[in-house]
Symmetry: C2
Subunit: 252 residues, 2 copies
């Protein structure tokens, strides 16, 4: 029995709930791509839409869990979610070692910071030469500004970027101290740069990326001067993109 | 110094030639996707277009090699090309063993038969429970008909399918006896089914496939009754597809 909130994370929760015979109720923004909603429903989960622009997501999640007797699962601010996303860091560290890369900036998309925090913890344990760099869309750079300020700051807007998977109001309470301690300064890219990265991944990597999943690749392409470490590793995450958005991105 | 003919193979030849400081002249159909031509030229190769509908490709390749003093490299009918494509079979056999799959039909796209022949030889050596099944587009089912007849037959047409990478006139002289000895009956899918497989790969696998690279997945989806072996393995090959064709396939 679980309730979760938004993003690619929702599909994972729905999958895990089905595998364990538990009921999943997923709180998703009403402007989430149709493919994401269908992906969650395919695992038997109930989707409860909310207005990303006005609602207090954390409050909604708590109220929904309370009303229905569910266990709330944040998409990022939960120790086990952070640890689970950190397994991507363990895989990446193993692959970097195979490629003889001991020191690199690792660019990772950042919403609430679960992936970045989890990977940073993994690197601290097994690959101290790898350093996480968060990447966010313009206008939703709460993590970059918070890292610069040393405290959690909020975004003015809640909607207005195509990078729907990583639009959060502010860094997580659990994730921010981890990222602040272990990661480098945050990077920011535009929606247009994310779309160009999607087109490059289509043409050269033959991989389908959604806008929010392409921001790290965009930073590698368009912010080379901001990256240190000799090698650059970009984490490509998520391909839950509608056909029309993808066709636009690739120029089809 | 090398001359090669058509398909995804061309990019590999151009890459290898550049890596060895050799000159590459690539004979490519004049209707090849722009992305394929650009991909070959990016490695410094010269592209010589020919009319797929009327020209004798093997004769053209021989004449070009003779006139320019080049070594002709067929995209399929060459022992080292077959052996190179067979390495995909070695990788696949290792992955199947890891997944505890000892017996399966392995669906592979088929033009001249280089990939199918190479994989069949690999399976015979290291994974005898894996059996190759060639997959071709409707109207270009020379391999399926040749396997049924026990001799090499030609296609009536040279153009007319979107699966440009695997349109050949007839099975290779070297590849056909290998495939006849080791593979099962050939499978055939329509262009529409290849496009549906591309859309499925986009939605669920997050992989970019070109039409000719999606026919094996299409056979797995649309010809289940024709497949034996308990498990089915579909080899997805090639994502050199123009943005407009891809957008059409995914419904964007």
């Amino acid at each position: 029995v679980a309730a979760a909130s938004s993003g690619n994370h929702a599909q994972g929760v729905a999958w895990a709930a089905e595998a364990h015979g538990a009921r999943a109720v997923i709180l998703m923004p009403s402007d989430a791509p149709a493919g994401k909603v269908a992906g969650v429903q395919a695992f038997g989960a109930e989707v409860v839409p909310f207005d990303r622009g006005h609602a207090d997501r954390d409050g909604l999640l708590a109220a929904l869990a309370e009303a229905r007797g569910l266990t709330p699962i944040s998409p990022y601010d939960h120790p086990q979610v952070i640890a689970g996303q950190g397994t991507a860091g363990l895989e990446l560290a193993a692959q970097a070692a195979e490629a003889d890369v001991a020191a690199a900036d690792v660019l990772a998309c950042c919403g609430g910071g679960g992936l970045a925090a989890g990977m940073a913890l993994a690197f601290a344990a097994v690959a101290p030469g790898l350093r996480v760099r968060t990447v966010e869309p313009e206008g939703f750079d709460d993590m970059a500004r918070s890292l610069a300020a040393g405290e959690r700051l909020r975004n003015a807007a809640a909607t207005g970027s195509i990078c729907d998977a990583i639009l959060t109001r502010q860094p997580g309470r659990l994730t921010f101290p981890i990222i602040r301690r272990l990661a480098g300064p945050g990077l920011v890219v535009s929606d247009a740069e994310a779309l160009e990265a999607m087109a490059l991944a289509f043409r050269h990597l033959k991989v389908v990326l959604e806008p929010g999943g392409a921001v790290a690749l965009a930073a590698a392409l368009f912010r080379p001067a901001a990256v240190d470490g000799g090698a650059v590793i970009a984490v490509a995450t998520g391909g839950n993109v509608d056909a029309a958005t993808f066709a636009d991105a690739i120029g089809g």
